[in-house]
Amino acid sequence: MGLKRKDILTIAEMEKEEIDLILQTAESFKEVSQRDIKKVPTLRGKTVVNLFFEPSTRTRTSFELAGKRLSADVVNISASSSSTVKGETLLDTARNIEAMQSDIMIVRHASSGVPALLARHLKSSVINAGDGLHEHPSQALLDLFTIKEKKGTVEGLKVVIVGDILHSRVAHSDIRGLLKLGAEVQLVGPPPMIPKGIEEWGVSVRYRMEEAIKGADVIILLRLQLERQGCGYFPTLREYAHLYGLNRSRLSLAEKGVLILHPGPINRGVEVTSDVADGLSSMILEQVTNGVAVRMALLFLLAGGKND
C-alpha cells in the first residue's frame, strides 16, 4: 500500500486515495514526533537532498527534520537563484547531486515547473517544495491534516480562501486538495489577484469579504506579499486591509468554531487585525508541528514505495 508514484509534484495529479493514505500515515508520525526520542531508523542509509533555489527557512527546516527523524542523511543545498536564473546549470546541478547517490530530492524554485523538469530527467524521487506560482503540495497536505484533525473531516466543510490567489502556490494546492476531499471552496480577493479560469476547477469566486465569509467552517488567510502594493493588484495596504482584512465583526459572520489557518508569518493589521491574530498564532504553531509529520509521511511513502 505504498504510493504508486516516483515523485510528488502536484496535488492536482493526486488521487483522493493517495491523499488519504498520506494523511493517515502522517498521524502515526505525529505520534513519533511526540516521543522523547523522536527518531526512527526507517530511512537509514537513504540520502535526502534539500535543493533550494529560493531562500526558505521554514519549509527547508521542516523537510530536514522530517528526514533526520527518519534517520536519512540529509544534505541542504542552497543554489542561489541568481547563478541559475538563466536555468542553464539547472539540470547539470541536479545531475551532479544525483551522481552522489541521492534517493529523494526536495526542490524549491522560483520558476513553475522546475521540479517537474528535474523529475523527468532524474532517477531520484522529487518532492516539490514550492515552484513559482504553481503548487506547494506539502503545505496543502499539512493544511488538510490540520483541518481534518480539528474538524474530524474535510468533506462538506465550507472553506474560504482569502487574498492573493494569483501569486499563491499554497492556495493552488489547497484548492486542489480541498476539492478532492469534498470541501466547498470559495475564493475571495481583489479581482486582479483571482487567476483566470480558476472557476473551472470547481470553486466559486467572490469579491466582497462579507459575502464570502458567511457560514465559513474554515478560513484560510494567505500571506500578502507587501511588495505587490502599487503594482496594479491593489492600490494600498490600507485599502486592502479595509476591504479584505479579517476582523472581529467579519469573523462573527462565520460558523461557530470556525478554524482559521495562515501559512505564517502574519502581517498584523493587513490580513488580520491584531486581536484576531493573537488567537491565530497558536494554530500557526500547530501547523508547523503537523508539517514535520506530513513531510515524514511523504519521505517514508516515497522511499518505501520504491521497487527495484
Binding site: 492536482a12 536564473v85 542553464e88 520558476s111 513553475s112 515547473g113 506560482l133 479560469g197
Partner: protein
C-alpha cells in the same frame, strides 16, 4: 543531388498552380532553370520532349505526386548573423528544402539587427554561397528594432529587402508605426507587424486562461494580440499603407481582420500551422517546446483561425520557424525562449486541414505560394511559362514520423516530435536545380 541538366521533365503528376487556377494531371518541362512547357500527360512516356531534345533530359516520374510551385515562407528566423548556434543560412535553407520551401523570407532580429544595407548584403551573400533555396531578407522598421527611429528603408530595399518588420520587438509607439506605414508606401512594400502589446504581455509565459492558472505560469492575455491588431487596422485606415499581420492566433484578431477586409482596407494576414492544430493544453507538463509567441490559445481560437483560413480572412500560412538550442529550451519554462521550428512540419500539418475538409489542396497550396507572393508583390510562387523554375513535388500519401534525427534544422525545438504525419515534399527544384529530399532509412 545537385546535378543540373539543361532539361528536366516532371512526368505524370497532378499539377496544382493556384495562381493560374490550374489543377490537372500533366507533364512539366523545365529548361535552363525556366518553366518551358506544361503539357497534358503523355501516354508514351517522355516522348513529347525527347524529339526536341539534343541535350540530357532529367526525367522525374511524378505519378501519384502533386507538383506545385515552390512553397514560400513569409516568416523564418534564420538566426544568422549572430545566433549561429541556433541556425545558419545553410541549415535553415536545408530545413526549408526538406519542408518543400524554395523561398524563405528571413526576419531581421539577428545580431546585428538587419536594419542596414551591410547586414542585408551579408545575408544575401551567405544565401548565395551556402543557401540551397532563395532567401528574401526582411529589414527592420526601426533602427535596432528599438521602436524609435525609422531605419533607412530605401537603402534596405535597394539592397534586397522585400518587406520591413520589427518582429519579436514590436513597435509599441503608434506614432512611429504610423510613420513607418506612410513611409513604406514609397517602396510599395508591406509593413509586417508582430501584434503584441508588450505591456499586456509583461512577463507572461503562455496563454492566459485555465491552463496558465493550472501550471502557475504568468499568462499572456488574448487581448495582447487583438489590441495591436485593432491599432494596426486603424493605422492602415489612416495611412493607406500596406500592412501584413503576422502569425495571427486568436479569434478576436480574426474577427477584426475580417471586418477590416470587408471595408476594403489594405490588410493581409498570416497564421501558422501550430495555431491550426494545437491549443494551450499542449503546454501541460511544462513542455518548453510548446512555448511560443503568440502563445497557443484555446480551442475556440483554433476554430476561428481555421474558419479565417477557409473564408480568406487569413491569406497565408507561414511557419514562424524559430530555432533555439536544446540547452535554452531545457531551462525552467519561464526562462526558456519563445519559439518553435516549423519549416519541416508546416506542409504536412497544413495538409491535415485538407483531410479535415477546411480547404481544398489547391487552396492550401495557394496560401503557401500564390498568396505569400502577392503579399510580397513578387512574381514567384506560380508555374507560368517563362517563370523561374521553383517547383515542389509532394508525395501526398507518404506517412512519416517527426523524429529529431531526421530534422535538418540545427535546432530540434518542435512540439511535434513523435507525431505521425502524412504527406511530405519529396523533391524541390530551385531555379532548375533538383534537390531530392532524403531522410534516415532506419
Amino acid at each position: 543531388m545537385t546535378e543540373r541538366p539543361t532539361r528536366i521533365l516532371i512526368q505524370g503528376g497532378r499539377i496544382i498552380d493556384p495562381a493560374h487556377g490550374k489543377d490537372a494531371l500533366g507533364d512539366l518541362l523545365i529548361e535552363d532553370g525556366i518553366i518551358r512547357e506544361i503539357m497534358p500527360p503523355d501516354e508514351k512516356e517522355g516522348s513529347a520532349v525527347s524529339e526536341a531534345s539534343n541535350g540530357e533530359t532529367h526525367h522525374i516520374n511524378a505519378r501519384g505526386m502533386v507538383v506545385v510551385p515552390g512553397l514560400i515562407d513569409l516568416h523564418t528566423h534564420m538566426r544568422e548573423p549572430g545566433f549561429e548556434y541556433k541556425e545558419t543560412v545553410a541549415t535553415a535553407t536545408a530545413s526549408a528544402a526538406a519542408g518543400g520551401f524554395t523561398t524563405v523570407c528571413c526576419m531581421p532580429n539577428t545580431n546585428p539587427v538587419n536594419d542596414n544595407q551591410s547586414v542585408t548584403e551579408l545575408i544575401l551573400e551567405k544565401a548565395k554561397t551556402q543557401g540551397i533555396v532563395h532567401v528574401l531578407p526582411i529589414g527592420a522598421i526601426t533602427k535596432g528594432s528599438r521602436g524609435e527611429e525609422l531605419a533607412e528603408m530605401g537603402e534596405l530595399v535597394s539592397a534586397g529587402c522585400v518587406a520591413v518588420s520589427d518582429d519579436g520587438l514590436p513597435v509599441m509607439n503608434s506614432e512611429v508605426m504610423r510613420r513607418a506605414m506612410e513611409y513604406a508606401k514609397i517602396f510599395d512594400i508591406p509593413v509586417i507587424d508582430h501584434c503584441e502589446d508588450l505591456n499586456l504581455t509583461a512577463d507572461g509565459v503562455i496563454f492566459e486562461g485555465a491552463v496558465s492558472t493550472s501550471l502557475g505560469l504568468k499568462g499572456i492575455p488574448a487581448a495582447s494580440e487583438t489590441v495591436m491588431v485593432a491599432r494596426d487596422i486603424a493605422l492602415a485606415e489612416l495611412t493607406g499603407g500596406r500592412v501584413h499581420l503576422a502569425h495571427i492566433s486568436t479569434a478576436g484578431s480574426v474577427r477584426l481582420i475580417r471586418e477590416a477586409k470587408r471595408r476594403g482596407l489594405p490588410i493581409t494576414a498570416e497564421t501558422c500551422p501550430h495555431y491550426l492544430v494545437l491549443t494551450d493544453e499542449r503546454v501541460m507538463g511544462f513542455d518548453a517546446n510548446a512555448k511560443m509567441k503568440p502563445p497557443l490559445a484555446t480551442s475556440q481560437d483554433l476554430e476561428e483561425v481555421r474558419t479565417g483560413l477557409t473564408d480568406g480572412t487569413l491569406d497565408a500560412i507561414a511557419t514562424d520557424h524559430a530555432p533555439h538550442a536544446s540547452e535554452e529550451k531545457n531551462r525552467a519554462i519561464d526562462h526558456a525562449p519563445f519559439g518553435i521550428i516549423g519549416l519541416e512540419t508546416a506542409l504536412s500539418l497544413s495538409m491535415s486541414l485538407v483531410d479535415g475538409g477546411f480547404l481544398t489542396l489547391s487552396e492550401l497550396i495557394g496560401k503557401m505560394t500564390e498568396q505569400p507572393a502577392r503579399i510580397l508583390g513578387k512574381k514567384i510562387g506560380r508555374l507560368g511559362i517563362g517563370d523561374i523554375a521553383d517547383v515542389t513535388i509532394i508525395d501526398p500519401n507518404v506517412e512519416w514520423q517527426v523524429s529529431e534525427s531526421d530534422i535538418k534544422s540545427k535546432s530540434k525545438n518542435s512540439p511535434f516530435l513523435g507525431w505521425n504525419m502524412k504527406g511530405r515534399a519529396r523533391t524541390v527544384i530551385v531555379a532548375g536545380k533538383v534537390i531530392e529530399n532524403k531522410w534516415g532509412e532506419s
